[in-house]
Amino acid sequence: MMKDYTQSVLQRANEMQRLEAAAMALPQGGTTAFRAGWAAVLAALIALIPSISAAQMMI
């Protein structure tokens, strides 16, 4: 029972260590990533336009 609990604690610690390593390795975004983020938002909005136009036509 206590063995299982300790294993859960160790597993949790390993997961945290892994997340920490990922956070450290995550490349700093800067302007390029910011633009990429906005480009993705715009692309998603533009993708909606045909369906909006189609919906308007229906009305």
Binding site: M2, V9, R12, A13, M16, A33, G37, A44
Partner: protein, 173 residues
């Protein structure tokens, strides 16, 4: 064997020492967490997190104060962070604890603790995106497929994760 000796053994990689420390202090830690959080399940979660941090910080532990004090500081600060997340911090009801060398040791690790707190707050999907992208080197497209998200969603989520972690760095003194 004294607690500090167990911590020394743990620092050398003996996980049986952690088991012994858990055996000795889990009940008291649970009692403390429950008295702050008033929630048994959440208290259990915080105590497990506290022991995970004891393990992660095993090399930084100084043996010049009682382990019980150190654990109490860890549990208390985790519970306070949890209450802050829920925006219901009953500061007046929290037991006053004087600054000790255990407290000092805790704050020396504060930056790392804050990062852990922030990482703990990420959703499971965001955690998977973070490790998949930064550690495993998956592309946005692969991550989108694995997580059932669109490509723009993956990019936006990673952008937000980066900002959250970076703003946490800026908040630190």
């Amino acid at each position: 064997m004294e607690d500090n000796q167990l911590m020394a053994r743990l620092a050398k990689g003996d996980t049986d020492a952690l088991e012994e420390l858990i055996c000795r202090h889990r009940a008291a830690a649970l009692h403390q967490a429950e008295s702050i959080l008033q929630d048994a399940a959440l208290a259990e979660d915080m105590v497990q997190e506290a022991f995970a941090r004891v393990y992660l910080l095993r090399h930084k532990y100084r043996g010049d104060f009682a382990f019980t004090t150190y654990l109490r500081v860890l549990v208390r600060n985790l519970c306070i962070d949890q209450l802050r997340r829920k925006r219901s911090l009953p500061l007046a009801e929290l037991p006053e604890e004087t600054a000790s060398s255990a407290e000092e040791c805790y704050w020396q690790q504060e930056k790392r603790m804050q990062l852990w707190n922030e990482l703990r707050r990420l959703s499971p999907t965001d955690q998977a995106l973070l490790t998949g992208y930064a550690l495993e080197g998956h592309s946005y497209r692969e991550l989108a497929q694995a997580q059932g998200l669109s490509l723009p969603q993956v990019k936006i989520r990673l952008h937000r994760i980066r900002n959250r972690l970076r703003s946490k760095e800026r908040d630190d003194p």
